[in-house]
Symmetry: C2
Subunit: 318 residues, 2 copies
């Protein structure tokens, strides 16, 4: 039985694991993406990380590495290996597979980061045994992964699960994708921070401003969460509004898919459990019980390693 490498390529860090299924051992390495986000430079960093993981594995005299799974926070075509849009890295139409093919000596597979997270939670995490799984992560933006009919569902060109970019308000708030009124623009951490900074500059959100040391530009979701815990009414109102939108988005996916399990997590959810509770409360009010009743609502289990672990598990199918 062989081991697999899994890598989570995010906007700021590359996180890698070696997963040895026979022993259950997991080795972990972390590398900053660095200042140079040119595709070639990031491909170099990724190859460096794989080298480190191989060395760590070699030192441990582990099993042979059979392949590498790479989860990327991007719209990518798994068949062509082209990254159409990776906003965190500032990439458009990058031929990542070609860039990696000349740098890695192992077979590898590129997947969307949420696909990797979903697969990880399905195989080893909170959604073991699910047949129809909706996995939604709210971080800077909002991403979703799907298991349908007992199979990972990536869609016709590997870009299924773009729940963050469904239109919830025609001609609504601008989204980084270039369109308007996307769900993500109402519920993602990046957009919440933007709104709090705007409001704070105009005299609002005193609690978040205070938690950020009085500097508008230092306001993050962490500051917003502190303000919420301290009972700040602006923080509460913003989370309540975001939670209602999030419930609409979750309800939409549930009505279309009729899943047996919803995993709801992500950095912004993890940092503010109250936000998650408000969203689930709103979901119970909005969504027909015939749809919601058969659906188990659970938080994720694999924590910071979910993306890398899922990618390693997906590398088994190379």
């Amino acid at each position: 039985m062989s081991a697999h490498i899994g890598i989570d390529l995010g906007g700021t860090h590359l996180r890698g694991v070696v997963l040895d299924e026979a022993t259950g051992s997991i080795a972990e390495e972390l590398l900053a993406v660095g200042q140079d986000r040119a595709p070639e430079a990031v491909a170099d960093r990724l190859a460096e990380l794989v080298g480190r993981l191989l060395a760590a594995e070699g030192a441990a005299e582990g099993a042979e590495i059979a392949g590498v799974g790479i989860g990327v926070a991007a719209w990518l075509n798994g068949q062509t290996g082209v990254v159409h849009n990776a906003p965190n890295l500032g990439w458009r139409d990058v031929p990542l597979r070609d860039l990696l093919a000349s740098r890695l000596d192992l077979p590898f597979r590129l997947v969307n980061d949420l696909t990797a997270i979903t697969y990880g939670e399905w195989k080893m995490g909170a959604a073991r045994g699910a047949t129809n799984l909706l996995c939604v992560f709210v971080g800077s933006g909002l991403g979703a992964g799907l298991v349908l009919g007992g199979q990972l569902h990536e869609g016709a060109t590997g870009i299924a699960g773009e729940l963050g970019h469904i239109t919830v308000e025609p001609d609504g708030r601008p989204c980084n994708c270039g369109r308007r009124g996307c769900l993500e623009a109402y519920v993602g951490g990046h957009y919440l921070e933007e709104r709090v900074r705007e409001a704070a500059a105009a005299g609002g959100h005193a609690g978040a401003l205070q938690a950020a040391g009085g500097q508008v530009e230092d306001i993050t979701c962490t500051a917003l969460e502190v303000a919420w815990r301290n009972g700040d009414p602006d923080a509460r109102a913003l989370y309540e509004e975001a939670a209602r939108w999030l419930a609409i988005g979750l309800g939409t996916a549930i009505q279309v898919l009729n899943p047996d399990t919803l995993v709801l997590g992500g950095g912004v959810m993890g940092a503010c459990p109250g936000y998650r509770s408000l969203a689930l409360e709103a979901l119970h009010q909005d969504c027909p019980s015939a749809m919601l009743h058969p659906c188990h609502l659970v938080p994720p289990k694999l924590g910071r390693l979910s993306g890398a672990m899922g990618a390693a598990l997906l590398a088994r199918e190379l």
Copy 2:
């Protein structure tokens, strides 16, 4: 090789076919639901229709009938055979399987009508060869069926595809389901007729009113379509508005599922090809091309028989 019966149980009619796959022959029978819509009475009518189809088949000396597929315009649980809600029949929590078990001597299977239509279009119609299919029918309301990863997707409890009841406008127009702001309430024929009648009573929609012989209560989608063809501006404005909402709903499902094929049809679409064109135009404006480009947009092929044919094909799996 045996033949199968398929039945489409709608709000006004029961349409049945005998499909003999060996010969490709199709026998068809139609029966009115009648005034008495009590579950027992309708179950009697359904058994009568099966009897007629068996007699027709016997007269033709065809193959043995192996089973019956029944598509119902309803929220139903395929596992328990309970119809939770069939608005066209006025049913709530009707144990249809039990009612039919005592009336039919053949093995049978209950499915949602859109599931049957989708399966029919997938196996014998416009979506042959699709792996990820979204099938949307706009009639009185809006229903959808799904094939995902090469399998019919009915969801955890058989009620997937409720695209008609996603929320497109929080606290928006009332829907027959009891909630507000559902997609169906903006795009379905029942709701369009309701709005035209309201507006006509207040002096608007002169074209539709004229096409209905001057009687507000006689205004239907057919009258609206005539008005549209005659260039009535109110008819045009209403279809344009409905088309924009429909495009948002279709775009939402496409973003979540990344299908290779979208079949868009239904009675209201069929009666007004202009409505369909406007909706596809709006979809091309709204939906990211990376999602839309890989998706073939096609009209259905099986016409009035699609539901019964699909139900007969699904009876093969009994």
